[in-house]
């Protein structure tokens, strides 16, 4: 039996019984890396669900585990020194138990990924055309002529001018924005049902960023494809995601439909992230809110709430007892906090911290940069 046939066999044994609408269901996914200092818990029992054609935004600082999460779902983790637990169901099929060769029928065809850096995610010594047709010929068994035709249509649909000529070029002959379009074309080639976009625009200019995000959204709509948009910028997901999950230290600390999240955020971390962004409508020289310090060491995270050491609202309880992810009044809105923003308890906690001159609260409310530096020293001492 040819290797290609074998792969098809595997595909057939996966008898998918998809629930209506539900595409991806991740339950209690944990990923840890073995390091010389101990186990680094990069993703810590994360659960999400994603319906067909919807967009989930995952937001967090660098080091919050958002990229490791998407790689864990895709099964793109290193072979050794990794512990992955929990369940990932894609169209009803459990993915965690599949081998790499079985996963191969999913990669590119069912789920694809666009990476952050378009400079390094293309092969520099292979022509653009062949990089696009590779997966078409592999997964869809096309001959060269068919595949070339589809590649051309793809190039045109992602907005590349002079597509015929570009197919014969190498990645270095193109600008960053063009290369990211190519990477998107490759990801879309086999018509995946789920696209992971891992910081797809961080390496690009603002004007190009807008173009690429619009392109992703348009392609998603046309193909009825679900998308997981991973970013550190709440601005990027605000207008584009149906639901947003905020990650911190490997955990989801708040999850809600986009409008609910912005209207009634409960988690102090989400509030801090939003208020630290300079906004155009604010007058110039307005003071920005600061989250002092940086995310905790994942090998030995703090015992209570992971955000407590940096939190302007934190009380004694936060440092010893970890809050559970609970549902707010609005259905579908989950948060993980003892003294949530916008409640009487939260307000009281913040005022108490402010009057006690706690550096975290001073940094957040007054935007005091020196206080923030003090927090960082304390947190990482």
């Amino acid at each position: 039996m040819s290797p290609l046939r074998q792969r098809k066999e595997v595909r057939r044994t996966i008898s998918a019984k998809p629930e209506a609408g539900r595409l991806l269901e991740v339950t209690d996914l944990s990923t840890a890396f073995k390091t010389p200092r101990g186990l680094a818990q990069a993703v810590n029992s994360v659960s999400i669900v994603l319906d067909r054609g919807k967009t989930l935004g995952i937001v967090g600082e660098s080091g919050s585990g958002k990229s490791v999460f998407s790689r864990s779902v895709m099964g793109l983790l290193p072979k050794h020194n990794v512990v992955r637990e929990g369940s990932i169901r894609f169209e009803g099929q459990e993915l965690t138990s599949l081998s790499n060769s079985a996963m191969r029928t999913y990669w590119g065809k069912e789920m694809a990924m666009v990476f952050q850096d378009p400079m390094t995610s293309l092969n520099p010594v292979v022509k653009i055309g062949r990089q696009i047709t590779e997966s078409l010929r592999y997964h869809l068994d096309m001959d060269k002529k068919q595949a070339d035709e589809i590649a051309l249509t793809l190039m045109k649909s992602v907005g590349i001018p002079e597509a015929e000529r570009r197919l014969e070029e190498y990645p270095h002959q193109m600008s960053g924005g063009m290369r990211q379009r190519i990477v998107i074309a490759i990801a879309l080639a086999c018509g995946p049902k789920l696209l992971f976009a891992d910081e797809p625009t961080t390496a690009l200019d603002v004007t190009v960023q807008a173009q690429i995000l619009n392109l992703l959204q348009q392609q998603q709509r046309e193909r009825d494809m679900a998308m997981v948009l991973v970013t550190h910028d709440l601005g990027v997901v605000a207008g584009r995601a149906d639901e947003i999950a905020v990650m911190y230290a490997g955990q989801i600390v708040e999850r809600a439909p986009t409008r609910t999240l912005f209207a009634q955020m409960r988690m102090p971390y989400t509030e801090g992230l939003l208020k630290s962004i300079p906004k155009l409508e604010q007058p110039s020289h307005s003071r920005l809110q600061i989250i002092g310090g940086r995310p905790p060491d994942l090998v030995s995270p703090p015992p209570g709430c992971k955000f407590a050491p940096r939190c302007p609202y934190a009380q004694e309880r936060c440092h010893v007892e970890e809050p559970p992810l609970v549902e707010a009044d609005t259905p579908g809105h989950y948060y993980k906090c003892w003294y949530p923003v916008g409640t009487a308890e939260g307000k009281e906690a913040l005022e108490k911290n402010l009057s006690a001159g706690i550096a975290q609260a001073v940094a957040a409310v007054g935007g005091d940069s020196v206080a923030a530096a003090k927090v960082e020293q304390e947190v990482n001492a």
Partner: protein, 336 residues
């Protein structure tokens, strides 16, 4: 400080030239923050470096304290250097990884032989405290033991020890997380107050620049498009490029309407062969024949205003007339 008709060109082989900066004139007033924005490749960093004479501009003048830096040579230029400092984009790679932080911050003082050992120590301690780092950890630690945000604080401290008049910040926050970015922006504001600095703030993010600047200059392909106060620029952009830049910024508010059609098509043309006339015309929605033939000069939007634009068909003139009249009547009504 005043920049007049600054031109920077680099040879690109085969008799070709990269027109990085083509005739920029700017005034930087004492104590203000001038923001310089544009896409990558528009020449904003080159402008910043040419002001420092690194590299020397091809032509033009840079007047600082009444002296033309482009004419100064050797020691004369060197003597001016402590007054002009640079902060770079990547804080970690701009610090020597093998040295202690306290030595890194002290180095400029040692090079210039300022004061006695004790005095130098005191200056370092004061500056470190101002940027929020403590002397003990600076004495024992090396840059890699600090986070990116703290390294940028170290870079800021290092540029401050010589008490410069002007600091040119070249994308100081682009490599940092949003939360850290806010810390550094607030810190720069504080330092500006405390040390009476004049800042030239170079960045590609208009929202960041708007937050820190007193005036903003928008650059496109080596030329200035528009110079205005930040609030003016935001509420009434006159150049189509500024408008496009503004609409491209993602707004962290889900109810904000998406300005999809306004987003800019295409990419920056090559600076090896910039378009004739107005350099933005190849991507401009308002471009006409005149834009290809005649280069627009920077001129005030309204007579006597400090809002300048280089465009034949600015957005503001059309909008100005009908809007201005009712506003004026409103004011008089409120006044009564």
């Amino acid at each position: 400080m005043r920049v007049e008709d600054l031109v920077v060109e680099f040879p690109a082989g085969r008799r070709m030239k990269v027109y990085a900066v083509s005739g920029i004139s700017l005034d930087v007033k004492e104590g203000e923050t001038l923001g310089l924005v544009g896409e990558s490749g528009c020449g904003k960093s080159t402008t910043g470096r040419a002001i420092m004479q690194l590299p020397r501009p091809t032509s033009g003048r840079v007047l600082f304290d009444g002296r033309d830096l482009t004419k100064l040579k050797g020691n004369e230029l060197r003597d001016m250097r402590p007054q002009l400092q640079l902060i770079f984009q990547d804080p970690i790679s701009s610090l020597n990884p093998r040295r202690k932080v306290v030595d890194l911050v002290r180095e400029p003082l040692d090079v210039w032989k300022r004061g006695t050992d004790k005095e130098r120590e005191a200056v370092v301690a004061e500056v470190l405290e101002a940027v929020g780092l403590d002397m003990d950890s600076a004495r024992t630690k090396q840059p890699h033991q600090f986070s990116g945000g703290q390294c940028q604080r170290i870079c800021i401290a290092r540029s401050l020890v010589l008490e410069p008049k002007v600091i040119i910040c070249d994308e100081p926050v682009s490599a940092l997380d949003v939360s850290v970015q806010a810390q550094i922006l607030n810190l720069l504001e504080d330092m500006k107050q405390r040390y009476g600095l004049t800042l030239v703030f170079i960045a590609h993010d208009l929202a960041v620049v708007k937050n820190v600047s007193d005036r903003i200059a928008v650059m496109y392909l080596g030329k200035l498009c528009e110079v205005a106060g930040p609030d003016d620029l935001y509420t009434r952009p006159a150049h189509p490029y500024t408008a496009a830049l503004l609409s491209a910024i993602p707004v962290p508010d889900p109810s904000a309407t998406m300005k999809t059609p306004a987003s800019l098509q295409g990419e920056l043309p090559s600076p090896l062969a910039p378009p004739s006339g107005c350099r933005f015309r190849t991507r401009c929605p308002r471009a006409e024949d005149r834009c290809a033939q005649e280069e627009p000069q920077l001129r005030p939007v309204l007579a006597g205003s400090d809002h300048y634009v280089a465009c034949h068909f600015p957005l503001i003139e059309a909008a100005e007339a009908p809007v201005a009249a009712p506003e004026a009547t409103d004011v008089s009504i409120n006044g009564h």
